[in-house]
Every structure is written in structure tokens, then in C-alpha cells.
Symmetry: C2
Subunit: 337 residues, 2 copies
């Protein structure tokens, strides 16, 4: 089936009526609509995306930008796939499609986004892996592209965001360590300029200061956001003359490597060193069981989608008020700290 023209000729109806029938307009006889729908179904006709969005000025596509490469920035594996699923449950109700915009590791993320949105590839965008000062915010704002972000940034153009409660994590983790009597407390800070790292470390420092404790530089460990990164941090910890007795980390993927590295150095998690981290499918079978924060990814996805719709012209009526939100995480107690 080539196009709507063929379909119209085949039905001996005008092209305009066919289009209206397919798009659910009111001014079309129910009977002819039926005929059109049946023929379209039978012949496998689907409106061409380019023609449609050229005319309408919108594509019906929502882009979720992420970077490819061996090291996921920020979150681990199944994280995004679960979030996507939640996003889609909402978008599907509005006939919107979600695609992942994949930025190669060899391309500058800002340039990629510029190229992609200026083309008019997607109607709206969800950003993740937000940096401390994220130029993508201003770029999308300049282009008047509706967007939201999973994560805050110091650059703020007024868009909605949802961010995991890393500061709450810091509060609870640090208080927990202090209450357990720890005095030498460390933090693992994933490499790169992700804002979540800044937020977490700063809050940790604040909480410790409230208790008259310091967070010295030598207790802040930078790590690649991967299993190997965790392993390397463990080696670093083991090598330090002044060794922390408790560490908190914000990254899902580090922890397995961390456990392993510590054990090899004779430092037993949960006994010689307390650990508080993040829960994920990958961490659920560690032993000792990880004390960590978990969250509902599906719900998060739903909330993201609703926030996005609230800034998209034509959809604002449905979802409103969901502007900015700190996403709660719950502590699941294990034996690690």
C-alpha cells in the first residue's frame, strides 16, 4: 500500500474523507468510516510518518536521550528499561511513541542533541545523566522544545524535573553511620560531572559537619561508574593509611566490584567496613546483603511521562501540577552497614 491516495482510489472516496475517517474526525459517516478502517487494516495501510508530521508540525515521538558505550553513565542495566516501560504506559494513552536517542560515545552530547532536535526529530525530550551545569537545558530552551530531566542541574530554565532523593540518601546514610559510632566516614563519588554526585557529597559533608565530623578529601573516592570502578576503589581504600570505617555510595553498579576488592584485601563488608548503597537487581544477592536504597522504577517512569505531558502544548490539560519532584527512595536494611 503506497499511500492514502491509493487507498482512497481503491475505495472510490476522496482522499480527504479517508484521512478524516482514519483520524477519528467527527464529520464522517460512521458507515464509510467503517469501510475505510477495514480497508486500511486489510491492506496494511499506515499513514506515512514524514508526510504526516510535515503537515501537522509535530511527530508524535518522544525522545529519551542516552549515551552509548561500555560504561553507563549513572545508572545500571535494567534501570532504564524499567523506567521506559513506565513512561510508555502513559504515552501510549496519547498515541505517543518513545524512542531512545542514542548518542555515541565519540560524539559530543550537546552537539548531538542540537543536531537531533533542530531537525525536528522528536516533539519532546527526556534528558538523563544531567551534569552539574548542563548546557543541554539551555539548548532545548532556546529551541522551545518541551523537555524534562531526570536529575537537576545548576543551569535552570524552568523545566520540570524529577530527581532521585540523593540528599535524603545522604542524610539517612550519614546519620546511620554516625549513630553506629563511625568517625571515619567515606564517600564514593562516580567520575564525571553528574550533578547527583555533587548533591550527594555536599549533603554528606553537611550532615557530618552537624555532628562535628569532617569529610576530608582523602575520604572522597572518585570511581568509574562500573563494576571495575568499584573494585579499583576498594584497592584504593585498602591502600590508604587512614582508612574509612564506613562508606556510602550512590551508584548501583559499583558495589559488586567494591565487595570483591575489599574482601581480597581482607576487609569484610559489614564487619570491618560499613557500606550503604543502592539496590538493584544486581545487588540483591550480595552477601552480606547490601543495606541500600531502592525505588519503584515503573512509578518513576509514569511520573516522568506525566511531567513531560504537562509541558507539551496540547496535552497540558490532562496533567498539571506535577512540576518538580524529589523522588523518594526507601532504605532496605541488609547486613552491610
Amino acid at each position: 500500500m503506497k499511500g492514502i491516495r491509493q487507498l482512497a482510489e481503491h475505495l472510490d472516496i476522496s482522499i480527504g474523507t479517508v484521512s478524516r475517517a482514519l483520524n477519528g474526525k467527527t464529520d464522517v459517516n460512521p458507515q464509510t468510516r467503517q469501510r475505510v478502517l477495514e480497508a486500511a487494516e486489510r491492506l496494511g495501510y499506515v499513514a506515512n510518518q514524514s508526510g504526516r508530521s510535515l503537515r501537522k508540525g509535530s511527530t508524535g515521538v518522544i525522545g529519551f536521550m542516552m549515551q552509548t558505550g561500555p560504561e553507563i553513565t549513572g545508572q545500571g542495566d535494567t534501570f532504564f528499561m524499567s523506567v521506559f516501560d513506565g513512561v510508555q504506559t502513559v504515552l501510549a494513552r496519547h498515541s505517543l511513541d518513545l524512542v531512545a536517542l542514542l548518542c555515541s560515545s565519540s560524539e559530543d552530547p550537546d552537539a548531538y542533541l542540537q543536531r537531533t532536535v533542530a531537525r525536528g526529530f522528536a516533539d519532546a525530550v527526556i534528558l538523563s545523566a544531567t551534569r552539574r551545569n548542563d548546557a543541554r537545558f539551555e539548548l532545548l530552551d532556546r529551541h522551545k522544545i518541551p523537555f524534562i530531566s531526570l536529575g537537576r542541574s545548576l543551569t535552570d530554565v524552568g523545566q520540570p524535573w524529577i530527581d532521585l532523593d540523593f540528599e535524603g540518601m545522604a542524610e539517612i546514610a550519614m546519620e546511620r553511620f554516625v549513630r553506629a559510632g563511625h568517625r571515619e566516614i567515606g564517600v564514593i563519588w562516580p567520575n564525571g560531572d553528574l550533578n547527583l554526585g555533587h548533591l550527594f557529597v555536599e549533603r554528606c559533608r553537611d550532615v557530618l559537619a552537624r555532628h562535628g565530623l569532617a569529610l576530608p578529601d582523602e575520604h572522597i573516592f572518585r570511581a568509574k561508574p562500573s563494576e571495575t570502578g568499584g573494585y579499583e576503589v576498594a584497592q584504593e581504600i585498602a591502600g590508604r593509611p587512614r582508612r574509612p570505617t564506613a562508606v556510602a555510595l550512590v551508584n548501583e553498579t559499583l558495589v559488586t566490584g567494591l565487595y570483591k576488592g575489599l574482601e581480597e584485601a581482607g576487609i569484610r563488608p559489614g564487619k570491618d567496613i560499613a557500606i550503604v548503597g543502592r539496590h538493584s537487581p544486581h545487588t540483591q544477592f550480595l552477601s552480606p546483603a547490601l543495606t541500600g536504597f531502592s525505588l519503584s522504577l515503573h512509578e518513576l517512569g509514569i511520573c516522568l511521562a506525566e511531567s513531560l505531558l504537562s509541558v507539551m502544548p496540547g496535552y497540558q490539560g490532562h496533567y498539571t501540577g506535577v512540576s518538580r519532584r524529589i523522588w523518594p527512595m526507601t532504605l532496605v536494611e541488609g547486613a552491610s552497614g
Copy 2:
């Protein structure tokens, strides 16, 4: 910057010449081309995707279809992110963009693909998670959409594919078990109808038969392709009266749960039961170290892209001969089996 018309007016050049200048056609004065490119750069003009692809009949977009949801089918998603990166290194040379087509877990994959390609959303598609009889192959063939698949299927429409060497895995794993004196050998088969599971199990059965051994049904364990699935299989193994002394598995994500479940049941991996599986970033810190197969994901991505280009009209000249390929994996010996 609205469109090419504005840009042309601003430069006082005809719209046709501007287009030719931007698209690198030969019949344009080098000096005016320079002017056009500078103005486009300065004003941030990028050709509208819909208009362009409507006229050209192609989009410049390659889709990689994957299913969202909490349980990744088959592979973990650091897997895909690494493969994507390899794919992109090749596609970028041809100004092709890769996007992930995300099929919601609540939508039928075949219907999703139908909807998406009939719209003309992408010029070509890469399929993954191929099923035993995958209707998507015929669908894409009917629509004359160039595509390749990561994984074989019994339905064959002549497209190129690349498949990991699961049969080679079966050969080596089974031979290894037999040589080590195992007589009760089991296989873990991920749920669903992925063809790789069939291929693996069948070949395991064949190899064992060569040695006069059987692969009874009670030694074939179906599992959810997730950490939890591995844990549940472990419990099942532990509960069986006739317990395998060696198991092979084909899935990256199962193994951590499997280890844990076995240990809880007092069955020590590498001692009481031999395990051969797949290596991934998540499995590298297991103890005892996993004996498993690994592969170069980046290279795999490159090969996928080249195969795809070889079936895309207009690109065939560059890449040829790469039609179907069993992708080798290398055994990394650990202490688990």
C-alpha cells in the same frame, strides 16, 4: 531559524542553491557554498527531518528494536549499549543515525514493528531477541525493509544475520563437563521462545549423546532471564532428588542469583557443582570466578552495522560479503567449572 526559505532570503540566494550547498552537490560555487555553510552554522539551521525524508523517501534513521520492561530478554543492557557504540562508529561514516525502537511490554512486538515500519519511521532495522519462529522477519520482508538480525530464527527470508556461537558454547561446555567426569549434566534454559535457547539445548543434547549420555527433561531448567530467575533455578536444583553435578547456562544475568541460591542450599559452585556460563561486567567479580564465554561487543556492533549496510540500497558498494556469521566467543577459565 524556521526553514531553508528564511535562510535563502537572508542570504539573497535561491532556495535551491542553498539546499545544494548544504548537501554538498557539485554545481555550486565554492564561495557561495562557504557563505551558506557559515550562515547555517551561525543561525543554527538544520534541515527539517520530515520535509527532507518526505522528499527523499528515506529518513537516514536506523532502528534497533528492543523490548522494555523489568526483565531484559536475553541480554543485559550494558550489552546493548556497548554494541550500539560499535554500530554507531560505522553508521556515523554514512550520516546515519541509530535510535532504539522501544516496544512496550504491554504491546505485541509484531504489531509494534508493523506500526513502526509501515509508517516509514526508519530506513532499516536491526532485530534482536529473535524467537524460534519470528514473524517479524516475514513482516519486514513483506514491507521490503532492509534488516538484519542479531540471532537466527527458523523463519528465514534470506536476510543476513549474526548470531553468537551458542552451539560452539554447547560443544565446549559439554565436552569440558564430560572430560571432567560429570555424568549428570544440566542446562539452564531461559524462559520464552528465544531461538538461542533452542539452539543451545539441542546442541547440548547432541554432544552428550555422542558420549552416550542423556539430557533428561529433569535436567533442563527453565528460568526467568534475570537474577531472580537464577536464584529460583538454584532452589529447584537443590530440591531435585537427582541433582546435576554440572550445569551450563547461556544467559548473562542468571548467574549471580544462581550462585547465591546454590550457596544457601549448601551447594558450592565449582566444588559441588560445576558451572559454565557467560561473562559480562556483572559476573567478573563472582567467587569462585566464573568459567564462561566472553566476546567483543564493540566488534560485534561494527559487524552488525556493516552487514546492515550491505543490504541497504545505495550502500551496498561499500560492504559486501558479510552475510551470515556465527560470532565466536572465547572461554575464560575460572574456578566454577
